[in-house]
């Protein structure tokens, strides 16, 4: 196994998945054997805690901390199972990392999910996968059947007394399904509108039962921690936060792609590995963690990319999939595309999001066309001030949408004003439309 790329090192270039036998030859399922036979659920949980594994779905919440909210057997209220849910809804603009983990290395995900379910005392694992990832749906489904046949899933797994079943729930569009409480609603056969918290899913989740939701990449890390130890996992990283990260680099770079590298790898190095900036070859700005992360500029190229450091730099590490803009790309135009996306994907529950986002998107399009007014900028700033801070809307879709807009207004205020003053996009005028 490639030790520096534990998550993607075994993936084949054509992304064809391994059979269970092939996977076992590569060391697969040894962690499950070890975990279920030699370790208690608490010991697995402690290892993940020591490993400093932060959730890779966007918020960076420590996985072990979330798992500790799950009730132990006997402490669970009422009868029924606890659920462990793997979030494979990946639809954030610029995010394409979970796709490879689902398609190419499904057994790695299953191993992690079994161990996570064991540690959280969950007996049912559900993997939600977005509709557009049909290969992922097929490959994970097939791998689950193989694991079941081999006795890694089912009753009394490996004689440990642990019962667990697992299945795939394919979704059918709508970004909001990825929000964890909306996902739970979706699994209950309702429209995917987020739930009020508290109660948190660990207290009352799917069908009112204790539930944990983790991202595909988070879960894919777990078997490596159990196989190689927490210390090893921490040592993979260049910072305090454990592990490698499956980064993505796209937009204006010469070789866009997935790059697994130590947590804390600076953006400059990743852009270098992605073949450098394309177009003019000169960086204007980048979003470090997908569409809902604030813009950073060339002075941030040395910032170690992890949740803590990117937050300190004034943005959000999010999904760790960066979008790169060269000098000939207009951040205002990119923000306009993002706003159109978030407006379309709003679930419609709260007013600032349902009504505010389409308005913001319209203003952005108008500004891009050079038909904006200076007052429009005030409306945008006001909306960011009202709806930007966490907790102003039912879920973080609105707050996330405000991040690129707010940071764009703060960093590129002159450019916004120039669009109004000059009646066109000054960058497009200089470089032409969609220079790539």
């Amino acid at each position: 196994m490639n030790e520096h790329k534990p998550l993607t090192g075994r993936a084949r270039p054509d992304r064809s998945p391994h059979t269970l036998e092939e996977w076992r030859k590569l060391g697969g399922y040894a962690a499950v054997e070890r975990g279920l036979k030699a370790l208690s659920p608490e010991q697995v949980l402690d290892m993940v805690d020591d490993a400093n594994l932060n959730g890779r779905g966007g918020a960076g919440f420590p996985a072990a901390k979330k798992w500790r909210f799950m009730p132990k057997p006997g402490q669970s209220p009422g009868d029924g199972p606890s659920y462990f849910i793997v979030n494979g809804d990946e639809m954030e603009p610029g995010a394409f990392k979970d796709r490879i983990l689902l398609e190419a290395v499904p057994h790695q995900l299953i191993e992690g999910a079994i161990l996570a379910a064991y540690a959280t005392h969950s007996s049912e694992i559900i993997v939600l996968i977005r509709d557009a990832y049909r290969d992922a749906i097929a490959n994970v489904t097939r791998a689950i059947a193989e694991a079941e046949a081999a006795g890694y899933l089912g009753r009394n797994v490996l004689g440990s007394g642990f019962d667990v079943k697992m299945w795939v729930h394919p979704s059918a569009g709508r970004y909001i399904v990825g929000e964890e409480t909306a996902l739970i609603e979706a699994l209950e056969g309702k429209r995917a509108v987020p739930r009020k918290r508290p109660p948190f899913p660990a207290q009352s989740g799917l069908w009112g039962r204790p539930t944990t939701v983790n991202n595909v990449e988070t879960v894919s890390c777990v078997s490596h921690i159990v196989a190689n130890g927490a210390q090893w996992f921490r040592a993979l990283s260049r910072t305090e936060e454990g592990g490698t990260k499956v980064f993505g680099v796209s937009g204006r770079v010469n070789r866009p792609g997935i790059i697994e590298a130590p947590m804390g790898t600076p953006a400059g190095e990743l852009i270098e590995q992605a073949g450098g900036v394309s177009g003019t070859g000169v960086l204007r700005c980048f979003q470090p963690g997908g569409g809902a992360s604030g813009f950073l500029e060339p002075d941030a190229l040395d910032v170690p990319l992890d949740f803590g450091n990117v937050a300190k730099a004034g943005s959000m590490f999010g999904t760790g999939t960066m979008i790169v803009l060269d000098q000939s790309a207009c951040p205002l135009a990119v923000i306009a595309r993002h706003m159109a996306f978030y407006a379309r994907e709003s679930c419609g529950w709260c007013t600032p999001c349902r009504d505010g986002l389409p308005w913001v998107a319209q203003i952005m399009m108008r500004l891009e066309r050079g038909e904006g007014r200076m007052e429009d900028l005030d409306v945008l700033r006001e909306t960011v001030a009202i709806a930007g801070p966490r907790g102003r809307t039912f879920c973080d879709l609105m707050g996330g949408a405000m991040a690129p807009l707010g940071s764009g207004l703060a960093r590129f205020g002159d450019l916004f004003e120039a669009h109004v003053r000059e009646g066109c996009c000054p960058i497009a005028r200089e470089y032409g439309r969609s220079a790539a």
């Binding site: 639809m91 995010a95 557009a132 059918a172 056969g189 429209r191 993505g248």
Partner: protein, 158 residues
């Protein structure tokens, strides 16, 4: 039109194995669509009856999801990404070329019933931008250019 015996048993299986009737609603709609290309009223009602939920509950789900089609779509389905990474790599030139070639906009089907064109958020193919997913298998294609769209139009068979 009634549901085939195969579909009926698949729906029952989903209900028994994947968390009961409510949880199986979306799965049923997906299976119907996979078999027929879209979900007509008669099929929706029949599936609802099979699951023991109301038609309204089923419709509630069907209309929430953007990729459950409640009207017929073309033989060939093109889901074109309108995400930022695709935009930055000339996605809108591709969009304009596809629209000009087919003579339709997003959400429309060509009059001959051959193609349906839909815009979709990031399809996880940012490393192949501009990208689209096409056809029944949601095959990822890209990087697209206005010059090569004819190839994907040919391949988008449902």
């Amino acid at each position: 039109m009634t549901l085939s015996a195969d579909l009926r048993s698949e729906i029952t299986h989903a209900m028994d194995h994947h968390g009961g009737p409510r949880a199986a609603m979306l799965e049923s709609l997906r299976m119907i669509q996979q078999a027929h290309g879209w979900v007509c009223d008669a099929h929706l009602e029949e599936a609802a009856a099979l699951l023991g939920v109301t038609t309204a509950e089923m419709e509630d789900i069907a209309t929430f999801y953007s990729l459950i089609f409640r009207q017929p779509v073309g033989e060939r389905l093109i889901l074109l990404c309108d995400g930022a990474s695709c935009y930055l790599n000339g996605g809108e030139d591709v969009r304009d070329a596809v629209m000009a070639r087919l003579g339709i906009g997003f959400g429309q089907t060509t009059p001959d019933g051959k193609y349906t064109l839909i815009n979709i958020c990031c399809v996880g193919g940012c490393d192949h931008a501009p990208a689209a997913v096409i056809g029944r298998d949601r095959k990822l294609v890209g990087p697209l250019t206005p010059e090569t769209i004819d190839e994907i139009l040919g391949e988008a068979a449902l």
